[in-house]
Symmetry: C2
Subunit: 580 residues, 2 copies
């Protein structure tokens, strides 16, 4: 994993590849590497769909090793949705496979000189790029099936659907899971649109003949990994809640806390939420698919196993177990309480290559605009189908909540830096509001998951309804998250890492044993700060100021039931988040 693969899509005579040593980027991985490359190499004022933007795909520092949970892959670029820097990461198999193939990153550069659609084949023998216009406007499912038919069942794919080809702001990059289905997505910020603008439909990855990456100190590494796994298994969230119900275990919890954004952020809880909760979902899945069908990993080496399978009424595969964010976005946020409809929407999103959060938030804005009634599941399905068809309306919706709000004259648009908010209302859970407002990524719960401490009692307790303590909480979480995002580790490890010092130490021990380093906790903090600083620097050069580190005005003006509370953290306080 000491090689960067650069593909110049704009070269005369067609795409050109070259490999080069990681060089100055040595020691960086995942978000650390994508943000370093984007910050250094992409002109901040360039057009996100133009020749000067780059799409960087990077496994984490521990990806491709035996370290448990190390399967996240980062996708970075200048975002077509926010206009700022973007890193969006996904689970699935690609991170492990790409790392074993020896690549620290793939960098897509330049602008195609023709309108061909390309596939990029990467195996132990090297890289091949071929035009394949038979893939045009195929969904991710058909694309992967076609690649499997051509290249065998052992491959994994990184692909875009029609949304990416249409260069829409909500377009995701899909990654195949353990069942070789395109269900794991680098969803946020329109990274799929940038891949589409580069003319690449799919990366086909085959690690046949590649070995696990070897640690410098195998014994120490093995030992640390053991402690690591034990720590994750011991924690209630990663050892019990997530494996049993998946991420959707949160629906009841967030709803009870009064922070569950309902009908485009009008209410803080949803009357019918029990119909779409993780508990109901697990029950449904087990009834249709058999006991235990709800729990498995999305990548080799996952021991949390929050993933699952959603079957239709006839017991046929419909989609992977929809995540909490997806169930909320298409569910409570649209007033929809029909799990089957939500699963259908999840499948459509995955197939078209759409961020489920942005898409759900957009449908809710469209409902506020009067394009459909809140609660009308069939109308929501029809609207999402419009995106896949690329109708004018579909293109608007596929451009995300902010564009949709502008086109339809809606004032209440729950976005920051142009990116839609996820499944936690910043009034009912004030800490996450600080993260939404200040994150370099736009509204993003994963950038600093204050919900953990505000609601779940992980990493201490901070009152969710008070502004006090939220700045420090979000700051520390944003720093820690940036570092974690560099390792390739699934963010869910954070629950155990925050609560159990020995589990945090085990992670550091693994990195040290693998790379022959002697990092301490402070070095991890420094890594996180460095990543955030590079991202903030890019955004400032792109024209962002503290004025973009704000929530939309309605969060400070409209009281959210049931607590009847507004967002209370002041602008002055928000400006303190990055003063460390």
């Amino acid at each position: 994993m000491d090689t960067i693969l650069r593909i110049d899509m704009g070269a005369d005579g067609g795409p050109q590849t070259k490999t080069e040593p990681v060089g100055d980027y040595a020691g960086m991985g995942g978000r650390g590497l994508t943000s370093a490359i984007v910050s250094k190499e992409v002109p901040p004022l360039c057009h996100p769909l133009g020749a000067d933007n780059k799409l960087v795909i990077a496994p984490g520092l521990l990806s491709g090793t035996t370290a448990a949970m190390s399967g996240r892959i980062s996708v970075g670029c200048k975002s077509p949705l926010t206009g700022g820097i973007k890193e969006s990461n996904a689970g699935g198999q690609a991170s492990q496979v790409l790392a074993r193939l020896g690549y620290a990153a793939i960098v897509l550069e330049g602008k195609p000189k023709d309108s061909n659609l390309y596939k990029v084949l990467i195996n132990k023998d090297g890289v091949k790029i071929e035009a394949d216009n038979s893939l045009c406007m195929l969904g991710n499912y058909d694309t992967v099936d076609k690649m499997k038919a051509q290249y065998g069942d052992k491959i994994n794919c990184i692909s875009i659907g029609p949304a990416g080809e249409m260069k829409l702001g909500a377009a995701s990059v899909a990654v195949t899971d353990m069942e070789k289905r395109p269900t794991r997505h680098a969803g946020r910020g329109g990274v799929g649109a940038v891949m589409g603008a580069k003319g690449v439909k799919v990366f086909v990855l085959d690690d046949t003949g590649c070995k696990m990456r070897p640690p410098k100190d195998p014994e120490k590494f093995k030992e640390a990994n053991k402690t690591w796994v034990a720590g994750l298994r011991k924690h209630a969230v990663t050892g019990e809640g997530l494996p049993a119900y998946g991420t959707n275990v949160l629906t009841n919890v967030i709803n009870e806390a009064g922070g569950y954004p309902t009908k485009n952020f009008m209410w803080g809880n949803f009357d019918n939420c029990s119909k779409i909760s993780g508990e109901t979902q697990a029950e449904t899945e087990e009834a249709r698919g058999g006991k235990g069908s709800a729990t498995h990993g999305c990548h080799r080496g996952c021991i949390i196993r929050c993933s699952g399978t959603y079957y239709d009424k006839d017991g046929h595969y419909l989609t992977k177990q929809p995540e909490y964010e997806t169930v909320w976005a298409h569910g409570g946020n649209c007033g929809i309480d029909d799990l089957d409809a939500i699963a259908r929407l999840d499948r459509l999103d995955d197939d078209f290559g759409l961020d489920t959060i942005e898409t759900g938030a957009t449908i809710a804005v469209a409902m506020e605009a009067g394009l459909a009634e809140f609660g009308d599941a069939q109308a929501a399905i029809n609207l999402v189908k419009e995106i896949g068809q690329g109708t004018p309306l579909g293109r608007v919706l596929g451009s995300g909540a902010e564009v949709t709000g502008r086109v339809f004259g809606v004032e209440r648009i729950p976005t920051v830096k142009g990116q839609a908010m996820p499944a936690y209302d910043p009034r009912g859970i004030q800490g996450i509001g600080v993260t939404y407002a200040t994150s370099t990524m736009g509204a993003d719960h994963t950038a600093g998951y204050a919900v953990a401490t505000n609601i779940l009692g992980v990493g201490g307790t901070v009152d969710p309804l008070s502004p006090e303590g939220q700045i420090e909480l979000s700051r520390n979480l944003q720093i820690a998250t940036a570092a974690i995002d560099a390792t390739g580790m699934c963010l869910f490890i954070a629950f155990a890492v925050l609560d159990q010092p020995e589990t945090f130490q085990a992670l550091i021990d693994m990195i040290n044993a693998f790379y022959g380093l002697e990092l301490a906790a402070d070095d991890v903090t420094a890594l996180g700060k460095n990543i955030l600083s590079a991202e903030r620097d890019f955004n400032q050069r792109a024209g962002f100021t503290s004025k973009q580190d704000r929530l939309p005005a309605f969060f400070t003006e409209e009281e959210l039931p049931p607590h009847n509370i507004t967002f209370k953290v002041t602008d002055k306080e928000l400006d303190e988040v990055f003063n460390w």
Copy 2:
């Protein structure tokens, strides 16, 4: 004109009006007053369509007097198109009438609590507001006809069309001309959307029984006005070119200079431009409407008379004589060389209440996106009709060039701060590029018309193809323009004012005689600087930095034929414009 009329559209129980003395705003007019009120009273981060935005309509300092050319009315707000401060001004009758009615400004505030559409009746007896939902989605022409039928032929109107009601980013505010037709528009920046968001369809103004505003020193005023008129009549542009051919006299001039943006800014001249030039247009109008039909004023007191009437092939009124910018936007910029089609598009824009510049630029972007072929006039008409119908596609197009580019994945979008560029390519005419980039208003030729000096030899000469001297030129013009926009004077006076010191002095003498002041030239400069500073301050508080004072990258990367030149003014130089 010492009263401000405030209308709170969000008051309990329906709209409430109150009048108050101008107070702290005394001595301000036009853009000076709208920008002062917006900058002081509107929270810069508010939603442009929300309760906190205000729509300010203000005649100029000399409006309502006998001063020639004093008929411009300013419309200000936070712009839905740019997100920054906006002042857009229009000719027509409203400025003179409103000034005579005694109002320094109308300020629309708050957010309606119901979905009624209101009309506001203003005459010498006061103000009446009535809901009138029979006006819903009427075009400006029908709206005005209906008001005339109800309130008599002597009224003038300020109204919005369907675009404003739909709150679209390209929506204009229409003002009736001397023939009581809604042909003069405060077009830029989506001011019509803000009026629509306030729920006001039309202001009906009746100045029956009102007198001309009396100067403090009638004799001096009369004398200065005489010198003023003589100066305007003497200058070649205002005394010959504009009266003979209207603004479209520029088509051949700009085309020959190689600065005529053709087919979405791909070329600097248009092969078929002679078919749509001012000369051809005047010939056509005279052939169909009779000798001299091309020359009259848009408001009482106009002596330049650049306005005209466009008749269809059967000699029936089709629209007012389309302006140069309109002929370009729907003509050369879309590759269209059919004057009748362009006139039809102008009529549709006026009726729907759309900025012709933004709309034409948008159609060209849509053509680049493949929605129609460049040059296909019928397709362009069909696309504009979609806007009026409010289809999803129409709403996208009505949201302007930038949104349209985003929705359809187009990279080459000729906008600054979200507002489309007018009819001068900043590569072929580098001075106007400086104005586009740095104006507080987004891309706007009227904010500092460097074309005058770059191409027309007015106010000196500065080589249009060289970056040298452009910063100082644009700076001085932006300062002078801001001051002129405060007076209510038509910007076309600038040609004579720039070239003839005695005409500039006559303008100052008129202001002094009218208000009993002793202003000198330096005071006018100070006024312009103050206005610009207030606007820049608002924009900074709204999150704008120097990074938004830039042209899109393609202007510095793609060479423009025939001169094969890029925009050469550096970022560092651009940042010097407001260092005075």
